[in-house]
């Protein structure tokens, strides 16, 4: 079912990771992603992997669910691995006709796949442990210096919040409409490409109508509550940095140091 889609879903919890300030989570995630690019040998990739395992353990999110977030992207993973495996020049290990696998190819394939998997996992972990509202709140705060450049930061963040808020609703709606059309004999899983595209009309038309209706209702509801942009608004949940954030930052710094040492310590 559509509503089973996991990507970008929040898993409420009370762990160390959940309780981190969303701003520090975003900054630390970005730092982590950059630090992945420091890794250039198996040991450093292993270190990064262990660090992710540590986050998963601490966050208390079931391992099965974390792994499930890779599922939608496995084709891309496979393709990347295959391209690196067969296209990297170097000393040939095995060869079938035009295809050949090189030692460098294997190394590239493994490391690129690891890199991609780490990227997916860490960003999933960010959304698993941070509610969409907290995320957009944090983004608004992080971008707030740009307000001076007359960038409508608050409005952008609000748009993001609303968009994120309505993703599950629209998925549910799609699910309902699909079921209703299936009950009238619509078939979404067979036929050629053109036929399949045509089959989408009975879903898309009602979906757009309902999305516009919702948008309209939401606008009215916001108006009725006297919403008028970002100035002078107070918050229900003030963001604040704490000891947790310091500890988390420390672990990231350590990771970066270890990776740096593994990279340049080796060649020197």
């Amino acid at each position: 079912m559509l509503t089973d889609i996991m990507l970008g879903q929040y898993f409420p919890g009370n762990s160390f990771v959940h309780k981190l300030d969303p701003r520090s989570k975003i900054v630390l995630t970005l730092t982590f992603i950059t630090s992945i690019f420091l890794a250039n040998n198996y040991i450093s990739y292993l270190t990064v992997g262990l660090y992710i395992c540590l986050i998963v353990l601490v966050s208390g999110i079931p391992v099965k669910i974390v792994l499930r977030s890779i599922k939608p992207l496995w084709i891309i993973l496979l393709l990347t691995a295959a391209i690196h495996l067969f296209m990297t020049p170097g000393t040939t290990l095995v060869a079938w006709g035009p295809l050949s696998i090189t030692g460098e190819g294997v190394k590239q394939a493994v490391q690129m796949s690891a890199r991609l998997i780490y990227l997916i996992l860490i960003s999933s972990l960010l959304t698993f442990t941070t509610s969409p509202i907290a995320l957009t709140d944090a983004i608004e705060r992080l971008l707030s210096p740009l307000k001076r450049l007359k960038l409508p930061v608050h409005e952008l963040a609000m748009m993001m919040t609303i968009a994120l808020r309505f993703v599950p609703t629209l998925l549910e709606e799609t699910d309902r409409i699909m079921k209703a059309q299936m009950a009238r004999g619509a078939d979404f899983s067979s036929g050629n490409i053109i036929k399949r595209a045509q089959n989408l009309v009975p879903i898309l038309v009602p979906l757009f109508i309902s999305a516009f209706r919702r948008a309209d209702e939401l606008a009215t509801a916001m108006e009725a509550r006297c919403y008028r942009g970002g100035d002078n608004r107070t918050r229900m949940k003030e963001l604040s940095l704490g000891l947790n954030d310091a500890v988390a930052t420390l672990t990231i710094i350590m990771l970066v140091l270890v990776l740096t040492w593994l990279r340049w310590g080796w060649s020197a």
Partner: protein
């Protein structure tokens, strides 16, 4: 000829923190020609239950069979199941999409691969069934109709499949009392003339008490009562309030009158009959007291 659910359970989003049981060990058999009412408070699992009847949901445990054949065994079987078991969802007008009313009602029959004449004939008779004039609405856009008319067009879209079982999930939600009465009158009429089984889901006890011969009460993912409505209203051991439903007004009035020592049959439903019974009971009381 029946739909049979055997010990089915259904869980939404299993294996996530959002996982939620909606049905637990439910068994049910629906025969051809029955009129079944399903009642229960919000979230008791009514919609989940009826979506199993035409194979839209696959039970997490248990089996669903139509005429003795398991629905989920072959993919091909589901197609014929969907034709035999018509399903009208909550707010069915939200699923309209075609440019004209005719085309929208014809969507189902065309999916069955019928000839143009057959389609035309089915659409016209389906529109008549729901009390819409073909000449009036067939060429209009479904989005330019009133709410009640849209609802009827959507119901016609399912009736046009000529199902053997018709499942309606709260067909009267959001309609005014007048529109509600009309829809129910048409459903009853359809039931009497076509001989198809009707499964009607609703919050409203008044509606089902009048029409359904068999009533299911759902509460917390289970069926708590299955039998004729009168049995439910007169079974002293059942506390209807616990299930979040209430007696029909007529029945609670009759019960109150009885409690005030008026000799009257409290199983009556029809308004005219009830008025007559109250009148004669009062007369008897007056006669005996003087």
């Amino acid at each position: 000829m029946s739909i049979e659910l055997q010990n089915i359970s259904y869980t939404y989003m299993p294996g996530t923190p959002y996982c939620r049981d909606a049905l637990l060990d439910v068994s049910l058999k629906i025969e051809r020609g029955e009129f079944i009412g399903i009642i229960g408070h919000t979230g008791s699992g009514k919609s989940t239950l009826v979506q199993h009847l035409n194979g839209l949901l696959r039970p997490t445990a248990g089996t669903v069979s139509l005429d003795g054949a398991n629905m989920h065994e072959r993919k091909q079987a589901l197609k014929s199941v969907r034709q035999k078991v018509g399903m009208v969802f909550q707010y069915p007008e939200h699923q309209l999409f075609e440019e004209t009313v005719f085309d929208d009602v014809a969507f189902g029959p065309r999916n069955l691969g019928l000839s143009d004449e057959d389609v035309q004939q089915r659409v016209e008779s389906a529109l008549e069934c729901v009390g819409l004039s073909v000449a009036d609405v067939a060429k209009r856009s479904p989005f330019r109709l009133s709410g009640g008319q849209m609802r009827r067009v959507a119901i016609a879209g399912v009736i046009a499949l000529r199902p053997e079982y018709l499942v309606l999930d709260e067909p009267s939600a959001g309609l005014d009392p007048c529109g509600r009465d009309e829809i129910y009158a048409q459903i009853l009429q359809l039931y009497r003339t076509s001989g198809m089984a009707v499964v009607l889901v609703t919050h409203n006890m008044e509606d089902v008490a009048r029409m359904a011969k068999r009533l299911l009460v759902m509460d917390h993912c289970r069926i708590r009562f299955d039998g004729p409505p009168v049995d439910l209203f007169h079974d002293e051991t059942i506390q209807l309030r616990d299930f979040g439903v209430s007696l029909p007004h007529v029945t609670s009035l009759l019960k109150t009158l009885r409690a005030h020592s008026l000799d009257i049959d409290d199983t009556l439903q029809d308004e005219e009959v009830v008025v007559e019974a109250i009148r004669s009971a009062l007369k008897r009381k007056r006669d005996s007291s003087c």
